[in-house]
């Protein structure tokens, strides 16, 4: 794929990144190895197959994963522009689309670093899983259940916060472009000043009865979110609502989720439903995926 000079530069560059953030040490840790064995057992039992994804991707594939191209770390050869992947789901989608024969559903998992740029290079080692080609609500329940089990390796006090990205997109689309952008900003930063201007500050609440009642007054279809929320509760999963959560990754279009614990000051995992196979590859297949943020978790535990 690369000529040797470019390859050397890339390998050197890559080695520098992982050495800088110290993840090589974390990866060598006993806890990391134990978790990988733990996760492999659970995932293979559930019928998930491991795939190895390249650390580089095409610029055009990765630009779909962000609204801010400046986040992408690009490497130019004389003919092409490559990107250190920021997201692995599009790589999975390319792989699925490239298969000559597809026997649905497909369950796959993968692991590796993702990279982004914000005044400095940031990398995160993730374990991801995707369930592609399922019926009804199966995907969201299965992915949430597995991630919940996997996170129990690190913490027993995990909460999952869910939302329906379609609801927020519906609300956003009722405004003109300028107001929409301002509201998007307010949602991403949970900014009360701006949300109050739109009389939408209640989106930040978590009381399900209040939220579903308010959503009904907006004529928003929240039945699916309500159904998934109730069913997850019935499955004894610690589930809460966060209907203000707008994911920074643009491809989600259904139920999204994030896992938190009082013992970790960041999301331990997140994901959701998407239709990128339909958008890009004209394959109308439902998919749901999620990723566990291993380097953050292991760093906290170290």
């Amino acid at each position: 794929m690369f000529n040797s000079t470019i390859n050397n530069v890339i390998v050197g560059f890559y080695a520098k990144i992982v050495a800088v953030n110290g993840f090589l040490d974390l990866k060598a840790s006993k806890l990391f190895k134990q978790f990988i064995v733990f996760s492999e057992n659970i995932l293979s039992e559930k019928g998930y197959s491991f795939i190895k994804l390249p650390v580089f991707d095409s610029f055009y594939n990765q630009m779909r994963t962000t609204t801010n191209y400046h986040e992408l770390i690009t490497i130019r050869s004389s003919k092409e522009v490559f990107v250190l992947r920021k997201d692995m789901t599009y790589q999975v989608a390319s792989y699925i689309a490239s298969l000559k024969e597809r026997s649905l559903p497909i369950r796959i998992y993968y692991e590796g670093e993702v990279f982004s740029w914000e005044n400095e290079i940031k990398s995160d080692y993730q374990l991801g899983l995707e369930y592609i080609g399922y019926k009804e609500d199966e995907g969201i329940f299965e992915i949430v259940d597995i991630i919940n089990k996997l996170l129990s390796f690190f913490d027993k006090d995990v909460f999952i916060y869910i939302n329906d990205e379609a609801i927020l997109k519906h609300i956003l689309n009722t405004f003109d472009q300028n107001k929409k952008e301002r509201l998007e900003y307010a949602l991403r930063y949970k900014n009360l000043n701006i949300l109050s201007e739109y009389s939408l500050e209640w989106l930040l609440l978590e009381d399900e009865d209040v939220l579903f009642e308010k959503l009904n007054t907006l004529n928003v279809d929240s039945h699916r979110l309500e159904r998934v929320f109730r069913l997850l509760k019935e499955k004894s999963i610690n589930v809460k609502l966060d209907v203000s959560e707008l994911k920074s990754i643009p491809y989600y279009d259904g139920i999204t989720f994030s896992f938190y614990s009082p013992n970790y000051p960041f999301a331990m995992a997140s994901g959701g439903e998407y239709r990128i196979l339909k958008d890009v590859y004209k394959l109308d297949i439902k998919a749901c995926g999620g990723a566990i943020y291993l380097s953050s978790i292991l760093e906290k535990l170290s």
Binding site: E118, N119, F159, Y161, Y189, K190, N191, L192, N193, S196, E201, L204, E206, K240, D242, S258, Y260, S261, P262, Y264, P265, F266, A267
Partner: protein
């Protein structure tokens, strides 16, 4: 217990007065050698202004009060819950000697001294001006006077320091004010306690 990071220096006085006025604390916070103060069910961490957002992002504090100038210079992955537009009011400006005003209007390349390297870079990049940045940590007004730089990028509250050093504002970059920021996990896990504080500022 909700942990709140408050910046030392000029913002401490203003924030302390605001929190007192909103009945969040019973008495004012004073700057002293004690850097962790427990008051009325809150734990206040008195830290350097540029470190507030780091404490919040990393989970050392649940909430923090930080200037927009600091956040723009070094963005962090935090929620920006409330804009306190009357606290920490100042302007981020490009300033220089009056005789440099005409040159400023037709700039292609220039030397800028500043503490705010990223803000300056982004601002001039958008104007298609190439710049050589000289990073200074304080008293940047000296740089154009002694010829170290053509201009400075800095915050100004009243404009008095600029005036006293014979400098004028060439252009305003943005207005800065304080924001209440929040750790993303704390916002979910400690939502009730955090909302009790936010309710003092809004009708929630």
């Amino acid at each position: 217990m909700v942990r709140i990071a408050i910046p030392k220096g000029r913002l401490l006085e203003e924030v302390s007065e605001l929190f007192l006025k909103k009945n969040i604390i019973p008495s004012k916070l004073e700057e002293s050698r004690k850097l962790i103060v427990e008051k009325d069910g809150f734990k206040f961490l008195i830290v350097k202004p540029s470190d507030v957002a780091t404490y919040v992002e990393q989970g050392g504090a649940d909430l923090g009060v930080v200037g927009l100038d600091v956040l723009k210079e070094d963005p962090k992955d935090v929620y920006e819950l409330l804009d306190l537009k009357n606290i920490g009011k100042c302007k981020m400006v490009v300033a220089g000697k009056p005789e440099k005003l005409e040159d400023y209007k037709i700039l292609h390349f220039t030397k800028v001294a500043t503490k705010y390297v990223n803000i300056a870079k982004r601002f001039f990049e958008e104007k298609d001006v190439s710049i050589n940045i000289i990073k200074l940590n304080g008293s940047v007004e000296i740089a154009p006077i002694i010829g170290l730089s053509d201009y400075i990028v800095d915050i100004t509250q009243t404009g008095n320091t600029l005036k006293e050093n014979g400098l004028i504002v060439m252009e305003e970059i943005f207005e800065s004010y304080a924001k209440i920021i929040c750790n993303k996990a704390s916002f979910k896990i400690k939502k009730r306690d955090i909302f009790k504080i936010l309710a003092k500022f809004t009708d929630m």
